[in-house]
Symmetry: C2
Amino acid sequence: MSTSVTSRALDLLGAFGPEHRALTLSSLARRAGLPLATAHRLVAELHRWGALARLDTGEYVIGRRLWDLGLLAPVQAGLRQAASPFLHDLYGATLATVHLAVRDELEVLYIDRISGHASVPVVSKVGSRLPMHATGVGKVLLAHAPEPVRGEVLQRLHRVTPYTVTQPARLLEQLRRVRAEGFATTGEEMSPGACSVAVPVRGPDGEVVAALGIVVPDLRRERARLVAALRVAAQGIGRVLTSAQWKQGLA
Amino acid sequence: MSTSVTSRALDLLGAFGPEHRALTLSSLARRAGLPLATAHRLVAELHRWGALARLDTGEYVIGRRLWDLGLLAPVQAGLRQAASPFLHDLYGATLATVHLAVRDELEVLYIDRISGHASVPVVSKVGSRLPMHATGVGKVLLAHAPEPVRGEVLQRLHRVTPYTVTQPARLLEQLRRVRAEGFATTGEEMSPGACSVAVPVRGPDGEVVAALGIVVPDLRRERARLVAALRVAAQGIGRVLTSAQWKQGLA
DNA sequence: GACGGTCCTTCCGGCCAATGGAAGGTAAGT
DNA sequence: ACTTACCTTCCATTGGCCGGAAGGACCGTC
């Protein structure tokens, strides 16, 4: 055993997640694998510092101080900053949910998002990770990912909705077309009633550094217009991405 | 002394701030008031867990794992979510930098922000805190703050630019007008070349829960139109803010 | 090429702070 | 009144933390 105090405290923080935003002391202890008394002491300390806050129900949640800290993280800061205005343009032109995402290991990491009043409800949130084979931005990133990654992902095509592509051969063919045509689409493959289009964002050296996508209820009618708008925005982002700003993002 | 290990680790994290996003090991140790060897051990542990990341320069920055955690914090989550679409509308209508802010003790805390291509460069950032007496959103929040808070703030009107209002009597008169007219303005009081207009966002019970503001290079020409647009957006946000969604935000 | 500076990393024995079982208190459900 | 589940406090034991010191890497400067 011999786990250090620090790592225990961190494990308590790690017990929080998208599915577990509010936890009682005892569930925190359980999830972190700590004796209740120990968890109690550590949680009290985290709470005193402001890393955790306590709701009036007695449950603990991530505190404001960690929110502050999180915002300081240089997670693709250069990319986010460069892309922000273009995302707004794109939203203005389409009034659809707009996504900016990068690849994180075998998943898609959503870096920024805009959704308006009438947008289709979608699962994604800034900071959330979703499977690559079932999202528009995911397919774009997968199509341009290094071969080993693609291999790994193709082995684990789990079904999300009835329309999710789960046959490796079929997905491979789609990826080929993504590279050839320069955009990817999905049709209710991640969540019912949501279709998406996405294009690659290319950095100064021409390599794909991110994907830009939008989610709409129906794709058939104006795919051409959407792809055009996406391309304009993606090119704009790429132009702004000088290597100076870009170096900040870390793996 | 007798500072616990955990609080020492947290102090190391607390050494980061808007002005100090990247720190070397030794400056971390200095800022946290820890012996180098101790800091080294703790930082290594934080790094291993992913709370800190290391740039290729050897400096440490806040890591992705803390970014993830921070996004889980329910810091005005209900408000942010409710307001988001209206912020975009507002940006679309004005093409100016748009701010959503709440009061945090004696300062303004920026909850969300949109800035486009041509917007005036401004200091604010999501998560940053600025003085209330020199910003549009600040004046709105101050005008509707409880008396003790207003008293405190009026005693500390430090000058930021040559145009900053530093006479308590004059600011009080402005706040009176803010309450009467329903909007606040600033003219280069926080940063040169930036003027702002802001209006209150009222919750279900009519109390002021946030402020909505925009920053423009010049105010004289279309103040009326901007105020009108702001009011529409603020009312929209207020309407969406059911008490159910609102309870999440914590002090 | 020796020197002064700043940085990072490793080591290890003394000592003190973290540990966690146990007991007591609260609250809700049966 | 019993049961279950939660939170909080206490304290004797002990094992992990502490941090001075030593060593190494990497600048620039003389």
